[in-house]
């Protein structure tokens, strides 16, 4: 096992029940999803000591990254970069986003710095040699997904309360082979009922209605069913298990060759999706 894989939970456990007088940066990317190589979309929240979220479009921040040198046992400064604020739910909830390419795996340390020089507590996080989910530039994983034609009704294949049948018209493996760009949302809308998460299926639905012929548009549910006695009994849908997502939701955009041109964890803005669709169509 990688040494830093043990280090991070240890650091968190050491922090348990200890005072946290300063603001804290929270990396919201899933475990194993940040890798060396292609530009990574880091999601960064800021918490006040009382837990209040502090991310705001009115508070510009800069991200400072250090690499934790395991030999010298010290944090080595690598780069500073501005972060942008993005709404996950328009005018309701937002988060800071940074686009960073990592040159080496291991433990990295993120610090957010405000314009007046206030720094968050340094937050360690892991960068893998290769992300656990498909990266930009790689072939998408071609697997069948459930479609309306193969189901008794839409309710049995989606938890979207207002489902668009067009998102369940074609299986993922067929979409990736028909020469058109493909936009797919892996998400469980039913678990996004409290406005705490980005409505990615609604975003994809809106784009599909605006540009129906520009791509294959799919929504794939994360779980086989959410109608379970206990949430501990949830089972991943086959397509989701094949993609090995540790978190949801995700939106992937592939070009006509089935190669990933963009991937979005947690939420996608209309601007991000428009740019990805344009890149996939070139």
């Amino acid at each position: 096992m990688k040494r830093w894989a043990l280090l991070i939970p240890t650091l968190l456990l050491l922090g348990a029940c200890s005072p946290a007088p300063e603001n804290l940066a929270v990396l919201a990317n899933g475990p194993g999803t940040v890798g060396v190589g292609p530009t990574q979309r880091l999601l960064l929240g800021v918490r006040a000591p009382d837990g209040t979220g502090l991310a705001s479009p009115d508070v510009p921040m800069e991200l400072q990254l250090h690499f934790r040198d395991p030999v010298a046992n010290e944090d080595v400064f690598v780069l500073s970069t501005p972060v942008r604020f993005e709404w996950m739910v328009e005018d309701v909830l937002g988060i800071y986003v940074a686009d960073v390419a990592f040159a080496r795996p291991g433990v990295w340390v993120a610090t957010l710095i405000s314009e007046d020089g206030e720094e968050t507590v340094p937050t360690p996080f892991g960068v893998d040699p290769h992300a656990s989910v498909p990266e930009v530039g790689e072939a998408a994983i071609s697997v069948p997904s459930r479609t309306a034609s193969g189901a008794a009704d839409l309710v049995s294949i989606t938890t979207d309360p207002d489902p668009d049948p067009g998102l369940y018209a074609i299986s993922l493996d067929e979409a990736l082979a028909n020469g058109k760009p493909t936009v797919v949302a892996f998400a469980t809308p039913a678990f996004c009922s409290s406005a705490t998460c980005g409505p990615v299926v609604d975003t994809v639905k809106a784009f599909k209605n605006s540009f129906p012929d520009d791509a294959n548009w799919l929504h794939i549910e994360v779980y086989k069913t959410i109608d379970v006695e206990n949430f501990a009994d949830l089972e991943l849908a086959d397509a989701v298990a094949a993609w090995a997502f540790p978190t949801e939701p995700w939106v992937y955009v592939m070009d006509g060759e089935g190669v990933v041109v963009a991937r979005f964890e947690g939420f996608v803005t209309p601007q991000e999706l428009a740019a990805a669709l344009e890149a996939a169509s070139e």
Partner: protein, 101 residues
């Protein structure tokens, strides 16, 4: 009668010492360890302190625990019902805090 009361008091004291009564804590999620099926632990920041919880095995949670990652992104508060056993915080339920203002 006195014997029954004595037994009741002793049992009550034992349960209290195990933390079995269930405390509540409201705060912001700052770490989730696990995947889309199983969450191994999660950490809540509340009133300046970080508290790491382990889900109680077999407990029926009001929300699927992987949903806590949405709270990790959003900063929306959660309310945890828990007990402390041998220094470990065992969570028996988690709800979106805004549902319990």
């Amino acid at each position: 009668m006195r014997r029954s009361i004595a037994v009741f008091v002793i049992v009550g004291a034992l349960l209290a010492s195990c933390g079995g009564s269930g405390d509540n804590l409201t705060g912001s999620i700052i770490e989730v360890s696990g995947d889309l099926v199983q969450v191994d632990s999660f950490t809540v920041l509340s009133e300046g302190a970080a508290h790491t919880f382990v889900p109680q095995e077999g407990a029926k949670f009001s929300i699927p625990l992987p949903h806590l990652r949405d709270h990790l992104r959003s900063g929306e508060a959660v309310e945890v019902t828990y007990s402390e056993v041998d220094g470990v915080l065992i969570a028996s339920n988690v709800v979106d805090a805004h549902e319990h203002p």
